[in-house]
Amino acid sequence: MKNNNKNTGNTVYLDHAATTFTDPVVLETMLPYFTENFGNPSSPYNIAHISREALDKARQQVADAINADTEEIYFTSGGTESDNWAIKGVAFANRKRGNHIITSAIEHHAVLHTCQWLEKQGFEVTYLPVDKYGQVRTEDVKRAIRGDTILISVMLANNEIGTIQPIPEIGRIARKKGIYFHTDAVQGIGQIPVDVEALNVDLLSLSSHKFYGPKGVGALYIKKGSRIDNHSHGGAQEKKKRAGTENVPGIVGMGAAIEQAISQLEEHAAHMKKLRTRLLEGLLQIPATHLAGHPEKRLPNNVNVIFEYIEGESILLMLNSFSIAASTGSACTSASLEPSHVLIACGFPHEIAHGSLRLTLGKENTEDDVDYVLQIIEPIIKRLRAMSPMTPEELRK
């Protein structure tokens, strides 16, 4: 019954939003850059020239994937660095123009915690609310804009509930007002089309390990002419904006992975949607189960459901004992002992948010995986509800 995938072994891995394995084809492209083609791209001899060309190629692959120019792509160490750089970099470089920033309540912590830190540095930040599906309302964006607003940052698609945000519309508003617009596309890329022109963005964050590339590498798209502080100081790498010897194998891997992800986009999305529908239909058969996030405007690989009366970590533990890997927004798995800020922003009460289960599909998943999960999960929910003092009588049987 269980899938036996060559990467995930006998685990049914349903946490692709947390990270993906590096595709063996991608890893293959990286390997020569660890050993033979190991030269420092800044060096002036043949062996280093190969590294430089590899960087150029990867930059082209990333640029092509999001319809940007190669000079607009800056490699970073991951999505968090890209988000931190975009937001701090634009904030400080444009402080003379104003010190107000707009973001949303459901951003990834890489954006939220950066904004909170900026508040301590004297910036003012508006955190936009979302509707019950986790969508930012464009009218709220319009209303939040002030004369001193210098940056808007709203994610393309949410990592927990998969809700896709109205980025092109927000971008249009931002552009009309001459306000920088950043989007965190870490979860979107490889799942839905990402085109910096169509999205009307000035900055866009990517992270390689979310689309079958290696961990520890990402990119920031910076539209030509944008005013942004350099991220780090040192050598002349990345046009002097982000110093440090380049992670050549990682960047090569990111390039190969994004090219593959884009070339397989439609096929992949269709596969994901099919599995998602099957999975979701099965899960919603379980009583007192709710979908979190938007029913349609969501990432094709994201399922997020809430089982009332029980707690997410215990669901994960039981799933783990059946070799199913998943995620939850329960407070009990977070260091802060607060349930997911995303579910709370969608209006779920604390005790309900506790029962969340996120299943994010990946390309290696099969219908058998879905059926296996459905078969395993129902008795788990029943057992946990049987133990819970909150479960109403009729659900205990």
């Binding site: 009366y309 029980i310 707690e311 970590e313 215990s314 533990l317 039981m318 783990n320 004992s321 329960s330 407070a331 009990c332 798995t333 260091a335 002992l337 349930p339 604390h350 005790e351 506790h354 049987a386 133990m387 819970s388 003092p389 909150m390």
Partner: protein, 134 residues
């Protein structure tokens, strides 16, 4: 997983789960910070805990702590049971991750509340929580 084998054992196959219709003492506690709820039921005969049961809404550590705590107090006098600390529960579980110690505190508090519920029904003065119950 971050839990000990003992925790997983008690989580996967918890002892003493269920409601108790004719309980002599019931204690329900919850950690508002975390939204978890634990209800402890006691059957008391001659000042001895003849049976204990629990219902818990919470994480793996909370469920395993409920199971272990109820197991530890069965057969003990009320005075002995009162002295079963969350540390003793955690130790019996071969340890809990630091961030999960508060789940075992819940078990200790649940037992105390159930014992005092019984004492009050008997017209006795409730026992006092030690201020440093942690």
């Amino acid at each position: 997983m971050m839990y000990s084998e003992k925790v997983m054992e008690h989580f996967m196959n918890p002892h003493n789960v269920g409601e108790m219709e004719d309980a002599d003492g019931v204690g329900e506690v919850g950690n508002p910070q975390c939204g978890d709820i634990m209800r402890i039921y006691l059957k008391i005969e001659d000042n001895v805990i003849a049976d204990a049961k629990f219902m818990t809404f919470g994480c793996g550590a909370a469920i395993a702590s409920s199971s272990m705590a109820t197991e530890l107090i069965k057969g003990k006098t009320l005075e002995q049971a009162w002295k079963v600390t969350n540390k003793a529960v955690a130790e019996a579980l071969e340890g809990l991750p630091p961030v999960k110690m508060h789940c075992s505190v819940l078990a200790e508090e649940g037992i105390h509340k159930a014992i005092n519920d019984y004492r009050e029904k008997q017209g006795l003065k409730p026992l006092e929580e030690k201020p440093d119950a942690e």
